[in-house]
C-alpha cells in the first residue's frame, strides 16, 4: 500500500459522508415529487417516463445512501483493510452514478426513452455489483468473533 492510499478510517468516513450526502439530496427529492403530485403539475404528470425515472432516482438515491452508511459501519469489521478501501470507492461511485443517471435521464426525456444521462445507470449498476461481489468474496466471518 502506498503512502497516498487513504487510511481505512478515511475510506470509511468518505463512504459515510457519501451516504449522508445521497440522503441529503434524494430524500428531499421525494418530498419535491410528492409536492408535484399534490399540486398536479402538468409538466410532471404529462410524461410518465419522467415520473418513472425521477421516482427511481429518489428510491435509488435513498436506498444507496443507506447502503453507504451500512457499508461504512460494517466494512472494517468484516473486510480486510486493503480490499475494504478499494471496495469502498466502488460502492461510492456506484451509489452516486445510479441515482444521478436516473435523475439526468428524466431531464430532456423523449416520450418512450430517457435522455442520454441514463447511460450512467448501467455504469453505476455494474460498478455496484462488482463492489458487492468483491465484498462478498472478501467477507471474513471469522473476524466478527
Amino acid at each position: 500500500m502506498s503512502d497516498v492510499t487513504e487510511s481505512p478510517d478515511d475510506s470509511t468516513r468518505q463512504t459515510v459522508v457519501t451516504g449522508f450526502f445521497l440522503l441529503a439530496v434524494f430524500v428531499p427529492m421525494g418530498l419535491t415529487l410528492e409536492a408535484l403530485h399534490a399540486l398536479k403539475v402538468p409538466v410532471y404528470f404529462g410524461s410518465s417516463m419522467r415520473r418513472e425515472l425521477w421516482t427511481l432516482a429518489h428510491a435509488h438515491g435513498g436506498i444507496l445512501g443507506i447502503l453507504c452508511l451500512v457499508y461504512g459501519s460494517v466494512a472494517e469489521r468484516w473486510l480486510s483493510a486493503a480490499a475494504g478501501e478499494s471496495i469502498a470507492k466502488w460502492v461510492r461511485w456506484g451509489a452516486v452514478l445510479m441515482p444521478l443517471g436516473f435523475l439526468l435521464g428524466g431531464i430532456g426525456t423523449h416520450e418512450g426513452d430517457p435522455s442520454l444521462g441514463i447511460l450512467l445507470v448501467p455504469v453505476g449498476g455494474v460498478v455496484l455489483i462488482v463492489a458487492l461481489v468483491r465484498a462478498g468474496l472478501d467477507c471474513r466471518p471469522s473476524r466478527s468473533t
Binding site: G46, H110, E111, G112, D113, V133, G136, L137
Partner: protein, 631 residues
C-alpha cells in the same frame, strides 16, 4: 464453496427475468391472433405503439375513437342487459345475458315469431352504443354482421329504436329492412383501423342478405394507425435504440410513420376527412377494391386522390343529385360526418392555414369534442381562442367587430360564424363551414340564420336590416323565405313549424338555448309545445329537451312534470295528439303568471291563447320530404 453460490446468485435475477419473457402473456402477440384482426399491409396494432409512446397511447385510449368498436365484454357493454322488456311501436325486445354469459337480445322474428340474436360486438360508446350479431350463411359459412334494431343511448341512459336516432319519419312497425344494416359494408370503414371487408362474392351477390365476407381490421376501433399510417416498419426500425437516439439528436432517420402535424394542409385535413367527410370512390371501378381489400387511402395521402367528397351536386347512377338533402340548398353540410366538406369549404382553409388540428387534438384532455386546451368553443371565457389564434387583431377589441356585449354569446365567434345547424347522433352540432351570417342568403336557401337562432322573437327581415345597419350595404334585405312562411314572422317559430325536418330540429334546439337574447317568449313556448307532435322523433326529442331547459331556467311555466313524462320515441301519433292538445290548452293559465303578452306574437293571441289556426297554417307549409342520415 459459498463464494461460488454468491457468484451464481448474481446471475439468478437476470436469468429469471430474461427466461420469463418467453412464457405466457404477450399483449401485442395476443391481439394479433384474435378473430377479425389482420396484420396485412404493414399494420402493427396499437399495443405495439404503447411500448414507446405510453402517454400518447394512454391519451388516445381515453378517447371515444378507441372504443368505437369493441368486443362484448362486461366492461365494454354500456347497456343493462337485464331481461327487461323494451317496447317500441307495440313490439318487444328483451336484451339479456344468457346462461353462458353471452349478451343477447330476444327480438321479434321476421314472420311473427321470436328469435335470439347474440351480440358479436358493439359500435359506439360516446353518445349511443349499437349492437351487432354475426349471421352465418352460404356454402362457405362466411359471415356478415348485422345491426340489431335497438340501441343504448349513453347520455339518456335508455334504450332506443334506431328509428329514433336517425332523422327518419316515424314508423309504425318493426323489424324493417333498414334495421339490420350490414357492418361489413358500412360501419367497418370508419369505426375501425385499416378495414378489409373481404367481400367474397362481389358482383355475384343477390343483395345485402346474400353478401358474404371474411372481414378483418388491424384494430377494432379507430387506432393509432388510422392517423399515423401503418406502423410495422416504424416499430421494427425504432426498436433499435441507436436509431432512436440518432433521431432524438436530430439525425436523418426514416421514421416510416406519419405525423399529422407535419403534413401540409391538404394532407392534414385528409387524415380526419377519411372518415369525417362522407365520400364515394374516385372511380366506380374502385368499389370492388374497397369492398374486397379496403380503402386505398393511407394517412399522408391526399384524400381527393382516392375518393370524391360528397357534395350537394354528387350523382351516382343517374344524373340526379343523390345526396342533396344532406346539404342546405347553398351547399353547406347539414348533417354530421361532413366536417371535411365544411372545413374545406371555409375561407379560413381555402385562403388561410386552418386545418382540423387548429382546434382539435386526438391527444388532449378533452375527450368529448377532442378540443385542444383553450380552444373549447363553448367555453364562455376562452370560446374565441380558436379564431383569435389567427384573427388576433379582432381580439384587441371584440365588441368593435361583433357589435354585441362582450360578455354575451353575441360576441362568441362560433355563435355567428359556425352556428349550431348540423344534425347528427340525436343532437344539433356546430357547422364546420366558417362563414359570415347573411339573412338574404339564408332566407333564400331555407337554412338557419345565426342572428335569429339567438334573437328568437325576430324575423329574417329584421336580421337583414340589422346586418345592413351594423355592417353596411353589402348585406341585402331578404325578400322571401324558401318555406313560403311570411318573411316578417319570427324565424325560429316559422322554421320549427314550417321548415323541413333538419330545419325543425335545428330550431327546436335553438329555442331552448339558455344564452338566448332577451325578448317576448310566448311564441317560443307554444311553438315548442306544438312541436311535441312532430312526425319525427328526433324533432320531438329536441323540443322536449328545450322545454325542459326552459323549465329549469328562469320563467318556468310549471310544465316540467308533464314534459319529463312525455316519451318522444316509439309512441304513435294517436297517442301523442291528446297530450299536445292538453299542453296547449293549459298554456294561457300557466303563462299569465309569468309571461307578458307582446303585440309581435304570431302564434299566441294577446290573451295568451295559442292561435291554433296560425299554427296549422305554418304546419301545412312543412316539406314532406323524408331525410335519411347517411351513417
Amino acid at each position: 464453496m459459498w463464494k461460488v453460490y454468491l457468484l451464481a446468485a448474481v446471475l439468478v435475477a437476470p436469468a429469471l427475468v430474461l427466461s420469463a419473457l418467453g412464457w405466457g402473456f404477450d399483449p401485442v402477440e395476443l391481439r394479433a391472433t384474435r378473430p377479425l384482426v389482420h396484420r396485412n399491409g404493414g399494420f402493427a396494432g396499437a399495443a405495439s405503439c404503447a411500448t414507446c409512446h405510453p402517454d400518447h397511447h394512454a391519451s388516445w385510449r381515453q378517447t371515444y375513437h378507441s372504443t368505437m368498436t369493441q368486443r362484448p365484454t362486461r366492461e365494454a357493454i354500456a347497456a343493462p342487459f337485464d331481461g327487461s322488456d323494451v317496447v317500441f311501436f307495440g313490439q318487444v325486445a328483451r336484451p339479456h345475458v344468457d346462461a353462458n354469459g353471452t349478451f343477447a337480445m330476444d327480438l321479434p322474428g321476421p314472420s311473427g315469431g321470436r328469435r335470439i340474436a347474440k351480440v358479436a360486438f358493439t359500435v359506439g360508446s360516446h353518445r349511443y352504443q349499437q349492437y351487432f350479431e354475426r349471421v352465418v350463411g352460404g356454402v362457405d359459412g362466411q359471415a356478415q354482421f348485422r345491426r340489431l334494431p335497438v340501441l343504448w343511448h349513453v347520455q339518456e341512459r335508455r334504450w332506443l329504436h334506431i328509428n329514433g336516432i336517425f332523422l327518419d319519419p316515424d314508423r309504425t312497425a318493426w323489424p324493417g329492412p333498414e334495421d339490420g344494416a350490414v357492418w361489413n359494408v358500412n360501419c367497418i370503414f370508419c369505426h375501425n383501423t385499416a378495414p378489409q371487408p373481404g367481400m367474397a362474392n362481389y358482383g355475384r351477390d343477390g343483395g345485402s342478405a346474400d353478401m358474404r365476407f371474411d372481414s378483418r381490421v388491424a384494430e377494432l376501433g379507430i387506432g393509432c394507425e388510422s392517423c399515423h399510417g401503418p406502423g410495422a416498419d416504424h416499430v421494427a426500425g425504432m426498436g433499435n435504440p441507436l436509431r432512436r437516439y440518432r433521431s432524438y439528436l436530430g439525425g436523418n432517420v426514416e421514421l416510416h410513420v406519419v405525423d399529422p402535424k407535419a403534413l401540409d394542409k391538404e394532407r392534414s385535413v385528409s387524415v380526419c376527412g377519411q372518415c369525417h367527410g362522407q365520400r364515394l370512390p374516385k372511380h366506380p371501378s374502385m368499389m370492388r377494391t374497397i369492398l374486397e381489400t379496403g380503402p386505398t387511402f393511407r394517412s399522408g395521402d391526399r384524400l381527393q386522390d382516392h375518393v370524391t367528397a360528397i357534395s350537394r351536386e354528387t350523382t351516382i347512377a343517374d344524373d340526379k343529385p343523390a345526396f342533396a338533402l344532406r346539404f342546405w340548398s347553398d351547399g353547406t353540410p347539414r348533417l354530421t360526418a361532413y366536417e371535411y366538406q365544411g372545413v374545406t369549404g371555409s375561407p379560413c382553409y381555402q385562403r388561410g392555414k386552418m386545418t382540423c388540428e387548429s382546434c382539435h387534438s386526438m391527444h388532449g384532455k378533452n375527450v368529448a369534442g377532442q378540443m385542444k386546451a383553450g380552444m373549447r368553443v363553448r367555453d364562455a371565457q376562452h370560446g374565441n381562442q380558436s379564431c383569435l389564434q389567427c384573427h388576433a387583431e379582432i381580439g384587441k377589441d371584440v365588441a368593435a367587430h361583433t357589435k354585441h356585449d362582450t360578455a354575451g354569446s353575441g360576441s362568441r365567434c362560433t355563435a355567428c360564424h359556425t352556428p349550431d345547424m348540423v344534425y347528427g347522433v340525436l343532437g344539433v352540432r356546430i357547422s364546420h363551414r366558417i362563414e359570415t351570417p347573411d339573412a338574404a342568403r339564408d332566407a333564400a336557401a331555407g337554412r338557419p340564420h345565426a342572428c335569429t337562432m339567438c334573437h328568437l322573437d325576430k324575423s329574417l327581415r329584421w336580421a337583414g336590416a340589422e346586418l345592413r345597419r351594423m355592417y353596411g350595404d353589402q348585406f341585402e334585405a331578404p325578400a322571401r323565405r324558401k318555406d313560403r312562411a311570411p318573411i316578417d314572422l319570427a324565424d325560429s317559430v316559422a322554421s320549427v313549424l314550417a321548415g323541413d325536418p333538419v330545419q325543425r330540429v335545428v330550431y327546436a334546439n335553438a329555442l331552448g338555448r339558455p344564452d338566448r337574447a332577451p325578448g317576448p317568449q310566448a311564441d317560443a313556448w307554444v311553438a315548442l309545445l306544438a312541436t311535441l307532435g312532430d312526425g319525427y322523433s328526433s324533432v320531438r326529442y329536441q323540443a322536449r329537451k328545450s322545454l325542459l331547459a326552459r323549465e329549469d331556467g328562469p320563467g318556468s311555466l310549471g310544465y316540467r312534470k308533464d314534459i319529463a313524462a312525455f316519451d318522444p320515441f316509439g309512441s304513435l301519433m294517436p297517442d301523442r295528439q291528446p297530450f299536445v292538445a292538453r299542453m296547449l290548452a293549459s298554456f294561457p293559465d300557466r303563462a299569465r303568471k309569468t309571461l307578458r303578452p307582446s303585440p309581435g306574437q304570431v302564434i299566441v293571441r294577446l290573451d295568451l291563447q295559442p292561435d291554433l289556426e296560425a299554427i296549422v297554417r305554418l304546419l301545412n307549409l312543412q316539406d314532406g320530404k323524408a331525410i335519411s342520415i347517411g351513417e
